[in-house]
């Protein structure tokens, strides 16, 4: 694929990149080539951590995203309507074209009754029903966060509600954005790409390559210590945290360059990477920190 590189002395900061994209989007909307699409944020079995993470977005922020980028039809955390009135909005959305984002896993136990997200016409509406009904009709489906992509903490042992990832109940392409939580940029960036250019380039697990292409370890500021075999024995040391259980080498994500909380810091600044953006988190990423370590 031919790509256009932006090189110094052009600014390549997060803000500058966001500004270039925003300007391009404005021009598209102005020319009438781009129209706002309906958008449904479905929250299933999880902790609402992803919608809270989205509120931390800066380029753009969530308010801009849900007012100017898309037309937010349903989000149980953000909408004013409640009860059946809220579910009514969800059913209305089914009639037209919409993009679906799902956070949280799908609870399968007792035919989905372990998680009821609302009532519709006097009947309980389970997360399983909602996931299938909306997932089958959406123009694009984005699974946001660890639970929606592969079960995550909701599916961790012993998994009493028999939670699974969204892909397990849907027979269609689901864009996967693993992370616990998902970084606002990973989601908003994917959404913006969908709106402006269609589906982003993805790997064989349907993760967008623009965020999930490179292992965290390869861009870690502590990598040279790994290469030279200088390992930390406690969390406070500035050297490589590999021996303490860092999952950076098996986690493909752009945390080292993107940073978190308004681009100020990221987990390796204080402790090991726990592999939250890798499939299999948290069970397969355990132990997070160990002191009973191998020799150098």
């Amino acid at each position: 694929m031919q790509q256009e590189y932006v090189l110094p002395p052009e600014p390549v900061s997060n803000e500058a990149i966001a500004k270039r994209l925003t300007d391009a989007a404005r021009a598209e909307i102005h020319s009438g080539r781009l129209q706002k699409k309906n958008f449904v944020w479905l929250e299933l079995t999880g902790c609402s951590g992803n919608i809270i993470s989205m509120m931390n977005g800066t380029n753009p922020d969530l308010e801009y995203a849900i007012t100017s980028m898309v037309n937010l039809v349903y989000s149980n955390s953000l909408m004013a309507a409640e009860g059946e009135k809220a579910i009514e909005k969800l059913m209305e959305a089914l009639q037209g074209e919409f993009i679906l984002a799902v956070e949280g896993a799908v609870a399968l136990r007792n035919n989905g009754l372990y998680h009821v997200i609302g009532n519709w016409q006097g009947q309980p509406l389970t997360a399983l029903q909602a996931a299938k009904m909306l997932g089958e009709r959406a123009s694009h489906v984005i699974a946001v966060g660890a639970c929606a992509t592969h079960g995550g903490p909701s599916a961790a042992k012993p998994n009493p509600a028999q939670c699974v990832g969204l892909q397990s109940v849907l027979d269609r392409k689901v864009i996967q954005l693993p992370g616990c939580p998902c970084h606002p940029d990973w989601f908003l960036g994917t959404l913006a790409h969908l709106l402006m250019y269609g589906e982003p380039e993805m790997d064989n697990l349907n993760r967008p390559l623009m965020f999930y292409s490179t292992s965290l370890h390869d861009r870690c500021p502590r990598k040279h210590f790994f290469d030279k075999g200088i390992f930390a024995k406690t969390l406070g040391e500035p050297t490589c945290l590999f021996k303490l259980g860092c999952r950076g080498p098996v986690t493909r994500i752009d945390c080292p360059t993107r940073l978190w909380n308004g681009y100020v810091s990221w987990p390796i600044e204080a402790s090991t990477c726990i592999g939250c953006s890798q499939f299999g988190f948290p069970d397969q990423m355990a132990p997070f920190v160990v002191y009973d370590i191998t020799r150098e």
Binding site: K223, H224, K228, F242, G280, P287, I293
Partner: protein, 164 residues
């Protein structure tokens, strides 16, 4: 030239190499060539980062950077093992293998297809665990289920003996 001066001199050299690479990037049309150059820029930047951290944290022993000629140190990674790839004559039973679980200062060994490999410093095996698997075991089945058709992975590991 003391240690600090040496590091600053190295940093200066890297800066000029970076400038050169950026100029080169502007004049390269080929996509793959560009990728290669970007990769080199990335390497240079991580070297800079390393030097910067050495200066900031003043690590007492800097064995790699004290000698004057900038010879790269032998990597601890098993990517290009110095030793010839002949299999050491060691033989492990399952019980013996179980001792090499990466705990209490023991190395981390795993067996695949009758061969025992050292994964103590393999980057995918931090804390002697890999996607929920622990060291000191015969992982032939697990390897086959996750890395089918990726036999080359075994070639990058350090063999330490055979499993009987």
């Amino acid at each position: 030239m003391n240690q600090r001066e040496y590091l600053l001199r190295q940093a200066e050299l890297i800066f000029s190499e970076l400038n050169y690479l950026i100029r080169l990037l502007y004049h390269t049309e080929d996509y793959y060539q560009k990728n290669l150059l970007l990769n080199q820029v990335w390497n240079k930047i991580s070297q800079l980062q390393f030097i910067h951290q050495l200066i900031v944290y003043h690590l007492p022993p800097i064995p790699a950077l004290v000698p004057a000629p900038p010879v790269p140190t032998v990597p601890i990674q098993p990517m290009q093992p110095e030793i010839p790839r002949a299999i050491p004559p060691n033989v492990f039973t399952r019980d013996q293998l179980a001792r090499f679980n990466g705990k209490n200062g023991n190395p981390a060994y795993v067996a695949v297809n009758g061969m025992v490999y050292d994964v103590t410093n393999h980057k995918g095996w931090s804390a002697a665990t890999h996607f929920g698997l622990t060291a000191g075991k015969d992982l032939t089945k697990e390897f086959a289920s996750c890395h089918a058709g990726q036999q080359w992975i075994l070639g990058t590991l350090i063999p330490v003996g055979r499993l009987v």
